[in-house]
Amino acid sequence: MSIEVNPLERRYRQNFRSNIGGHLIGAILFLCAGVTVVTTVGIVAILLIEGLSFFTEVSAFEFFTGTKWTPLFTSKGFGVLPLVSGTLLIGIGAALVALPLGTLTAIYLSEYASSRVRSILKPSVEVLSGIPTVVYGYFALTFITPFIKDYIWPDAGPYMAMSAIIVVGIMIVPIIASISDDALRAVPKELREAAYGVGANRLEVTTRVVFPGALSGIVASYILAISRAIGETMAVTVAAGARPNLTANPFEAVQTMTAYIVSVSLGDTPHGTIEFKTIFAVGLTLFFMTLVMNLISARITRRFREVYD
């Protein structure tokens, strides 16, 4: 919101010296906003500089198509696919958990819940996203994994993708529920009333009128949530294990890109070595995956939003 400068101030402004303090303050505030731009430039520069220096030693072809990720061993393999598959296994698995739950929660909140129920349920769901992710990791490791071993998959080891999938899925439910709820509520009452008027019941109104009307917002929330799941670090580090593993079996241990970066920084790999530079190459891959998803999500929200008046 910009306020038109009043004539009195404008006259003062014409005399620069009388308003030098004002200019100084404006410049300082601009620098504050500039910090965010510098942050982005810094991230991209660091990932590109160190990442590209990695790719002078390891070919990009080997990196993106290799199936053996053993940079810290004596027989080195620099194929990132096992880490990508681990990340995708958890990302897709978490989506399978969170998409139905988040969508149902959003529909319940916007179409069924009374305002009283809503005022309790919505904050309670949002608590799920406020819990530190290391706490989810603890819960997955000490509760969900033993539960799965006892009742579902007795062969499993102490680490498995499945329990990480469940907690990461639960963690991203509030993102979907909250954004989709907003999208559903933005569909005007008149559309619902028209549908009720021709005899549709609440299920039909919801699934054939309201849901399609809010689809762009809902899809945007899905992509944002999956992007968050891919970038999630601590729960997968604690629960999913530390073994790069090209598998689609959720009951095996896997390592994600984020968990690999953490494992290198926890170890004592010396700075400047090719082993250490892997974290920048992996970080660069991760950064671009999430960036592309976030941009698609933002574009869907802007481009396909149904504008109701």
């Binding site: 306020i3 009043n6 504050c32 906003a33 660091i46 500089i49 319940y108």
Partner: protein
């Protein structure tokens, strides 16, 4: 002609019978859908209750005075959380002291000073993109920029022998500041936007400059909203683990930091350290640490809600 009307009559008959059966079916489907939606929205809450119960069961065995006064140890009976608590206090103080002025300054620039041009919309887009960058990537940034004082190319920023801030409280705090800055800026912008324009106009009307208007009218009015956003952002920073692991917060620290350039640990890091050990005793210690962490977060969130309700009432008066 008669043939046609006859056939249409049977049509209506068959249709009406179709409607009768399908009405019951539609009601049934409607009720099932309601049940599924309700159940789906309760799954998350249910899991939250199970999680809290799990932590409550394991988290009080070591919950004693010693837990707050001792440093971590190989013996679980005497291990404590003091280093982590002090480390988190140090880091959060610096985060608050840097994120607040920069965040509010940036929000003021965007809302009150910036012209509506491409640069402004670029900054705005950049802020929302930054909010979606995984926290571990901020950790990589902090590791290079603050720990080593370089971006990997060209000279490093060195004072004497040491370059950057090293693996210190300062590096951790600045990394977290950059991480929560988008949240602080957006929350502050919302608060500043909600200050009615009439207040600004009245101030300009009596001849105040832009800064006088902003500092003595807009900011005080927006402060409750800004503080709420700030507290919520800080409570996110307290739970963040990945970025400060990256900058190398040590997981075994038997001392409290005394200057901002000392190495440190933090509450979530200590919890991670205990979780990653195989022995069950250390898992219980982790649960105890989680109890302390969650109580801290709960207190901060309650404070934010109280602040919003109380100050919201005052400004409505």
């Amino acid at each position: 002609m008669s043939d046609l009307s006859g056939s249409s009559r049977t049509d209506i008959k068959s249709q009406s019978s179709m409607f009768k059966t399908s009405l019951a079916l539609r009601h049934f489907r409607g009720r099932v859908f309601y049940g599924v939606c309700l159940a789906g929205s309760l799954v998350g809450i249910l899991l939250l209750i199970v999680l809290m119960n799990d932590i409550r069961q394991d988290g009080f065995e070591y919950f004693s005075r010693h837990f707050f006064t001792n440093y971590p140890s190989r013996k679980p009976e005497i291990a404590g959380f003091r280093g982590a608590i002090m480390g988190t206090l140090w880091v959060m103080t610096i985060v608050a002291a840097t994120a607040f002025p920069i965040g509010v300054g940036a929000a003021l620039y965007l809302e009150e000073y910036a012209k509506k041009n491409r640069l402004t919309s670029l900054i705005q887009t950049n802020i929302s993109n930054l909010a979606g960058v995984p926290s571990i990537v901020f950790g990589i940034l902090g590791l290079q920029l603050f720990v080593r004082g370089t971006i990997g190319y060209g000279p490093a920023i060195c004072i004497g022998e040491s370059c950057g801030f090293g693996r210190s409280v300062m590096s951790g705090a600045l990394t977290l500041t950059l991480l929560i800055l988008p949240v602080v800026i957006v929350a502050s912008q919302e608060a500043i936007k909600s200050v009615p324009p009439s207040i600004r106009e009245a101030s300009y009307g009596v001849g105040a400059t832009r800064w006088q208007t902003v500092s003595s009218h807009v900011l005080p009015q927006a402060m409750p909203g800004i503080m709420t956003g700030m507290i919520l952002a800080l409570s996110r920073a307290i739970g963040e683990t990945a970025p400060i692991i990256m900058i190398g917060a040590l997981t075994f620290v038997a001392f409290s930091p005394e200057t901002p350039l000392d190495p440190f640990t933090a509450m979530p890091i200590q919890v991670l350290n205990w979780v990653s050990r195989p022995q069950a005793e250390f898992h219980d210690l982790a649960a105890t640490g989680i109890v302390v962490l969650l109580i801290t977060l709960l207190t901060m969130n309650t404070l934010a809600v109280v602040l919003r309700i109380k100050l919201g009432r005052e400004s409505a008066r």
